[in-house]
């Protein structure tokens, strides 16, 4: 028969409650972190795309000349692509303004060249203006800079809110774990007292409880992180099945190495919080004794 049972009892009902609390908080924290990261990635991609798009508006010219200009622009350094929009595309663009009846016949319309610049490419407007001058075509470059700046500002606020929410949730989780650990440990003050009066040093008792709550929080946190992983995997699977993952407006849940790092770190942080709280609680309880 084993005659060296652990000095602390096996998991009790009150510790089961603590286990649930830590697991649930880790689930929420990990899921929030993953979602925020996905939102951050989606926002960055969205911003990059808007930043690199602009339109060249051509007045009083024919489609053949416009096509030549589009080809010249497409060959410029730092330009990923340029193409002349078809009449059908123009109709589609203007449909919200003119309704289902379509455009009035004989309405003079400009020709549009959609240009996609490479990220971090130099401002192409002077070179495009030169091309237009050489072709003797009147036109203007309509960048999305102003709109992009507004979008970037909105994205920055979104990122801050995301980081703030995750930080707040993480801080709350740590505080709740610490408080719940403190409460669970106070319920076992009888053991602290017996060990103390049996001649155990403060460090010995603190280490005993710190190890116990570290393991408990690590297990509970791992459970929570695993649940977050499964939930994220389910979202990724559902989104890719429905095609929603293609939308730039939706969070990009990917489950890459950084996501897995988040899932690993979450229970470790929970464990450290519980361990620290247990240690402090024991030492404070003993401080009141001789």
């Amino acid at each position: 028969m084993n005659r060296e049972s652990p000095l602390l009892p096996h998991t009790e009902a009150r510790e089961a409650a603590l286990f649930f609390v830590i697991g649930a908080l880790c689930f929420l924290a990990a899921l929030a972190a993953l979602t925020t990261r996905g939102t951050y990635a989606a926002a960055a991609a969205w911003g990059d795309q808007i930043e690199g798009e602009f339109t060249v508006v051509l007045q009083d010219t024919d489609r053949r000349t416009a096509t030549g200009i589009a080809d010249d622009i497409a060959q410029m350094t730092g330009i990923d692509g340029a193409r002349l929009l078809s009449e059908a595309e123009l109709d589609e663009l203007l449909a919200p303004s003119f309704g289902p009846g379509g455009l009035p016949d004989g309405l003079p319309l400009p020709l549009l060249i959609a240009v996609q610049a490479a990220p971090d490419a130099p401002d192409p407007e002077p070179a495009i203006t030169t091309i237009l001058d050489q072709a003797e075509v009147e036109g203007e470059v309509s960048g999305h800079g102003g709109f992009a700046r507004q979008v970037q500002r909105a994205l920055a606020v979104l990122r801050l809110i995301g980081i703030g929410a995750v930080s707040l949730l993480a801080a709350t989780a740590i505080a709740v774990i610490a408080f719940a650990t403190h409460a669970a440990l106070l319920a076992r003050k009888d053991i602290v007292d017996v060990l103390h009066l049996s001649g155990a040093e403060d460090r010995f008792i603190a280490r005993l409880f710190a190890r116990r709550f570290w393991v408990l929080a690590l297990q509970a946190g791992s459970g929570g992180a695993l649940a977050a992983l499964m939930t994220t995997a389910l979202i990724v699977f559902s989104a890719s099945s429905s095609g929603a993952v293609e939308s730039q407006l939706l969070p990009r849940l990917s489950l890459d190495i950084v996501d897995f790092a988040i899932l690993v770190v979450t229970p470790v942080i929970a464990g450290l919080a519980a361990r620290g709280a247990a240690r402090i609680t024991v030492l404070q309880a003993l401080k009141g004794t001789m």
Binding site: R3, D190, V194, G199
Partner: protein, 237 residues
């Protein structure tokens, strides 16, 4: 029959000097307690319920800091001890608590072995000692039984065995016969006397059982009106 002596020549096991005992923030329960117990002394502490016996004992087994005055254990003042020294000193004191304070999730064997485990000793080095002691207190057949499945008297004897396992230099017992019948009470007292003779352990037992005290020819101290005073034996308190 002098069991309490006031001597400056040799270090006493326990010396109290003008000790005020109580809980912080309230008036002392006991004032100016002065006492000397030499190694091998055996004495009783009595007094009415609420007189302060348990509070005094708590202070003596280093669970409650004194409000004022000095406690010297084996020549060392507790004021000069670090927390590590206090822990080390607690290992020289065996305590039998009134409410036993056994850990329910451990067996009788493991409860008795607790002071040895916290000292860092390995099972192989103490298993025989613990078994022998449990047999000595009459629990040879209950070694692997947890406290909730033991009777009050059996739990009391486990608590006593735990107090004795590391052969303490000072044994303090708080109402050790409080939950047993008179016959078991006598047995427990005889066990303490045997320990006192066999290992020269200093023994201080708090009890309000005057009948039992009268059966043993040992010095008696009494707490009355917040004062500690001798009532039997050549006592200098």
């Amino acid at each position: 029959m002098s069991r309490f002596r006031l001597s400056l020549n040799d270090e006493p096991a326990l010396r109290l000097d003008q000790l005020h005992v109580g809980y912080g923030g309230s008036d002392p329960i006991i004032r100016d307690a002065t006492l000397r117990l030499d190694q091998g002394d055996f004495s009783f502490l009595t007094g009415q319920s609420g007189a302060g016996k348990s509070t005094l004992l708590k202070t003596l087994y280093l669970a409650l800091p004194p409000l004022q005055g000095e406690i010297c254990l084996f020549g060392q003042s507790t004021w000069q001890m670090s927390r590590k020294d206090l822990a080390s000193m607690r290992r020289r004191i065996g305590v039998v608590f009134q409410e036993f304070r056994l850990l329910d999730h451990l067996t009788a064997f493991e409860n008795v072995a607790l002071p040895l485990r916290v000292e860092g000793r390995k099972l192989d080095s103490y298993a025989h000692e613990v078994e022998d002691l449990l047999r000595w207190v009459g629990l040879g057949d209950r070694i692997d039984t947890p406290p909730p499945r033991l009777s009050g008297g059996e739990q009391q004897r486990v608590a006593i065995a735990r107090a004795l396992i590391n052969k303490p230099d000072l044994l303090i017992a708080d109402e050790p016969t409080g939950s047993v019948d008179p016959e078991m009470g006598r047995k427990i007292f005889r066990l303490f006397m045997e320990l006192n003779k066999r290992f020269n352990t200093t023994v201080l037992i708090a009890t309000h059982d005057i009948g039992l005290i009268s059966e043993f020819d040992k010095p008696v101290l009494r707490i009355q009106d917040g004062r500690l005073s001798p009532v039997r034996g050549e006592v200098q308190a």
